[in-house]
């Protein structure tokens, strides 16, 4: 159980970091296109600011908490289904992670009058990328689960 928890927390940190990088990249790319003086050091500094900001300075719940809940629910459902259906775990958890993140980036705006609160999810490409981060997290989670589970 403890190992599962450590794996889960590691996955949350990974997915959260990828989420934040996507958020940062989306506005840095726009600023670059608009001729603002951005370079790699500005990008790195902005990623760091966003890691802190999205966890401690937002109006929304901390992104780490949001992703924990999203992936936690997705993996729990996957776990219950896997007890009944014999499917390759790593692929099913990947599907579950992708479904969770897809739900987050599509359902969340729908609940608040179509307002996109996460800059990284503004475009279809961004939504696809964030869905893929969920798939990656789920895949790694399934890959690293103890055999008996």
């Amino acid at each position: 159980m403890a190992k599962k928890f450590v794996i889960f927390i590691s996955i949350v940190i990974l997915v959260m970091t990828l989420f934040v990088i996507q958020t940062t990249a989306s506005y840095i790319q726009y600023l670059y296109q608009m001729g603002m003086p951005v370079d790699f050091s500005v990008f790195l500094s902005a990623v760091w600011s966003d890691l802190i900001g999205m966890n401690f300075h937002g109006v929304l719940p901390p992104i780490a908490l949001v992703i924990s809940v999203v992936l936690g629910v997705a993996f729990l459902v996957a776990h219950l289904i896997l007890k009944r259906i014999p499917v390759e775990k790593k692929y099913f958890y990947a599907f579950a992670g992708a479904s969770g993140m897809f739900t987050l980036v599509t359902l969340f705006p729908a609940l608040i009058y179509d307002l996109e609160m996460y800059r990284g999810a503004l475009s279809l490409l961004g939504k696809g990328y964030l869905t893929a981060t969920g798939a990656l997290g789920g895949y790694i989670f399934g890959l690293n689960l103890p055999r008996q589970s």
């Binding site: 940062t24 506005y27 600011s49 999205m54 109006v59 009058y113 609160m117």
Partner: protein
Amino acid sequence: MRLHFLFPLVFILFAHAVISSDSEFKMETLAEGLDHAWGIAVVSDNEILITEGVGRLRRIVDGQLDPVPIKGIPPVFLYPDDLTQGGLCDVALHPRYNENQLIYLSFGEADKDDPSLNAMTVVRGRLEGHNLVDVQQIFKAEPPRKTAAHYGARILFLGDGTMLITSGDGFNYRDQAQTLDNHVGKIVRLNDDGSIPDDNPFVGIKDALPDIWSFGHRNPTGMALGNDGMTIFEHEHGPKGGDELNIVNIGKNYGWPLITYGLDYSGSLITPFTEREGLEQPIKYWVPSIAPSALAIYQGDMFPDWKDNLFITAMVPGDLRRLTIIDNKVVGEEIMLSELGRLRNVVNSTDGSLLVATDGPDGKIIRLYKD
């Protein structure tokens, strides 16, 4: 000599005393039960027009709210019945209203081809008793958007008879505030009939809409003409922090979202930059946000201390800000009416009193006056 260091201190104390010299005023409620009051237009000494977000235009006559709304108002877009933003917004009188009875209304209007979309629209019509007649559209923000937020929608007539209309960034469309082929995050200037003045800054510029006056705005909901008849003050909602008070000049770029003093609601940066050559700076910004909703410059004689002061209604936490401006710089800020909750609008009345609208489903019009 040793006491010279006290001079700045004395000056600061004196300045503070001037700034916070709270003129005694009384309050009376002129109307209540208004469903999201937004725009106020003072027609005469005894008549006031008020818009309600739900799409009603109301009238206060001789201090009494007329129970019958004015008929003929176009249907407004409410998504889905949410009135935190949008609906029927501003009302403005034509500069020669006494001759032609023309009024202007701004509101979100559903797109005729795709009802899931909407656009900030301005119409004008003639007020005949309890009816608005000869209604014609004079402006529609392009392109229509999916969101029901950040409309701007403030109307201001200038001394030359032209009008400025603010158009917000629609929340999801912020990047378009920097391009001139749309009305996202723009202030436009039109003639009173909706035609485009020849001396607008982007007339004849390739790929630019000729009605644009300034750009790079977020959600500009307040605008007022200075008592000099030249200076245009405008404020706009920032994101999380970064509400701005600007002096708007022809053809200028106000920077959104390339520069800002605010953060995104998620807590991420919107940009690492707060200034850049070619992008205008606000004369004041607020961190944390105050959610400024409307702006008036005091013109009356009832409160001599308030002459030329800017009054801004704020919705977070809810108060009235009195700003003292000297040489286009804000030198003082007094917080008033912090007990009334979210405030939506402030205008000058004909007798020198101020009218303030409270926000919400049970909105009030409150008059600040002294005997």
